[in-house]
């Protein structure tokens, strides 16, 4: 069984990760039906609380909730970090008064889902908070690798790019380590987070060394506007040194796969043809995202209500 909330992979045990992945495997079957809907969460309300614009993740959660027959409500506020700070507690209390069965939170500042979870009765699912965690992304990545390689134990996974600002990197570091993989990081030195070795990973400044013998190469999106000139000199230099193309990929294992959380900056962190064709599995990641989020919603929002009513009771 897993905890009340899903705030990060750091909090999960290996057994909990496995339970989620196995549940997601079963959910994939629903997506292959002609009528892609089951009544599991009928009468349940799921709130997508997105403080940061996100089309992909929000849509993925929305589809996942709808395939389980939940009522999905999108509550989006454009919360630029420059805007006036709003009371997290106020937001949480307002939501709580509407009795949701699960709240999916995305925020540009690390820790906000935890702050909301502390003040809310309903389970909270972190859909990405600042540079902290993006647990459902890591879980869908694990699911994708699991399906491709039929194991995670003993694999070598190299994460390339802006580790410093990446919640996807952090969640994947925890996830792959807990599932028994070796995790390597490759980035220009300013984008390697200080003290990251304490998490149990090795960092490299040479892409070639980092992907030497790797089973999985996970490429992160570079936020060009924010980083160019401050964390690396230019896009051209970044693409030349850390951009992944077929020539550089040769150093990885012959059957290595390439992953990317999307959206891809084509020709920057990933060569155009590599983004669209094997060995990249980017669309499988997206497909698995829906099933994985169905599994998480089922496990967290599908629990018996606090007053003890059975979950499936007709109203």
């Amino acid at each position: 069984m897993i905890g009340r909330d899903l705030l990060g992979i750091e909090d999960l045990e290996r057994g909990e990760i496995e339970l989620i992945l196995e549940t997601a495997e079963r959910m994939k079957e629903v997506g292959r039906r002609e009528v892609k809907k089951v009544p599991t969460l009928r009468g349940r309300t799921i709130v997508n609380l997105f403080f940061e614009p996100s089309t992909r993740t929000r849509t993925s959660f929305e589809i996942a909730g709808k395939r389980l027959s939940a009522d999905v409500v999108n509550f989006s506020t454009s919360g630029s970090s420059l805007k006036k700070a709003e009371s997290i507690l106020d937001t949480a209390k307002t939501l709580d008064a509407m009795d949701p069965d699960a709240v999916v939170v995305r925020h540009q500042v690390a820790g906000v889902p935890k702050q909301i979870a502390d003040a809310l009765d309903a389970p909270v699912i972190n859909a990405g908070d600042g540079a902290h965690e993006h647990p459902t992304q890591a879980l869908l990545d694990l699911l994708t690798v699991w399906e491709e390689k039929e194991r995670v134990d003993g694999l070598t996974v190299t994460i390339v790019g802006d580790i410093l600002h990446s919640r996807v990197a952090r969640s994947n570091i925890y996830g792959f380590l807990k599932m028994g993989a070796e995790v390597r990081l490759a980035a220009p030195p300013p984008m390697i987070p200080p003290g990251v070795e304490a998490l149990g990973v090795k960092s490299y400044t040479s892409l070639r060394e980092a992907i030497d013998g790797a089973d999985v190469v996970m490429v992160l999106r570079i936020q060009k506007e924010r980083l160019e000139g401050a964390f690396f000199p230019s896009i051209r230099e970044y693409a030349a040194t850390f951009g992944l193309d077929r020539a550089k990929l040769r150093y990885a294992k012959d059957d290595a796969i390439v992953m990317h959380p999307g959206p891809v900056n084509r020709g920057v962190e990933l060569a155009h043809d590599l983004a669209d064709h094997r060995p990249s599995v980017i669309l499988d990641q997206v497909r698995n995202g829906v099933a994985l989020r169905m599994a998480v919603l089922y496990l967290l929002a599908g629990r018996a209500p606090k007053d003890g009513e059975p979950a499936e009771e007709e109203r």
Partner: protein
Amino acid sequence: MSRILIRGGRVLDPAAERDELADVRIEGGHVAAVGAQLDAQGAEVLDASGCWVTPGFVDLHTHLREPGQEYKEDIASGGRAAAAGGFTSVVCMANTQPVNDDPSVTDYILDRARQDSPVHVHPVAAATRRLEGGVMTEMSALVEAGAVAFSDDGHTIMDSGVMRRVFEYSRLVARPVIVHAEDRTLVRDGVVNEGPVSTRLGLPGNPAVAEAVHVARDLMLAEVTGAHLHVAHVSTAEAVDLIRRARNRGLHVTAEVTPHHLTLTDEATLGYDPNTKVAPPLRSAEDVRACREGLVDGTLDAIATDHAPHAVHEKEVEFTAAPPGLIGLETAFAVVMDLVRSGELTPLQLVARLATNPASVIGLGAGRLEEGGVADLAVVDPERSWTYDPAKGFSKSRNSPWAGRRLAGRPVGTLVGGRLVYHVDRGVLVP
């Protein structure tokens, strides 16, 4: 004038190296006698058995928020919190609204303090107008009005040329310049100590080197100008080391460290509690160890709270948006008792760092307990166990990382000018 006999306490006076069981008789606002088995002579008797009787504590770093932000704290509430913490004198920072950069503001603060505060209040004036780091303030007039030191505190002066002139000019008034040493170009948007913890939290890191770089610069500027540099809230091993070497070379540099930087590491921040957000940030275990060593060996003269009240609604926001700072007047003694329990400091040495040394940093005659001296005293129970609830404290704010914690060690009585201004069972008694 009231007469009080403090009976049966352990009298600790670092200035006289006195550490003995004795009675203290107070008359006419002064210490009339210290000795065994004194006759009460009709004086009110305060039982101090099991307690320490010490010079009143002196806090070199508080934010009383008045004028301008009275919803966070004011001179009355901050003064009461100080009294409840065993402090008889507090030094308050200049970042009020308006800024204390003009003698009229200094006058206002001192006037309010005379009317509202149970403890002495000593204002720090801004080093530059409006804390903008450009034009220096009228130091001579400000000292005349009662300012005891100069500082732009958190608005660290980044322009080295301006800082040099401030140091030079401060010699005219022979007052310390207090520096919040953080190179802002290195801090940038950092909110937690840079390292494994900032990486786990995914929050922007504030590197230890930001403090060291700035301390190094100001030590060099203080050396060439001959000014008295006082380094506020030292938090890193590198800064302790730089200050130690400068003192060994004979520079006029003093320094303080806070209870939180002596006892909490950045791991306290792992739950994203905005009440653990402070500037400089809580640091690594190694930094905490170095700060404690620095306090023990005298590199760091004094313990100062950096009491920084913020309203609940200001802290109940995203970690990055919450203002830095925590309140510390009422918990300071209990928190730093840790250094006595660990054997790092003797009780006498601790009292020196809470009372005698900070008084001497700003040239106050306080911090002593001698016959004939002004009776600013604290009676503290080093063992008394209590649960800290900021809502029941005297500060208007509640932003404490120790909220709800069981603490050991508590002031039971505070005397200012021979008057009992606080008693643990009776509360604040004046004004």
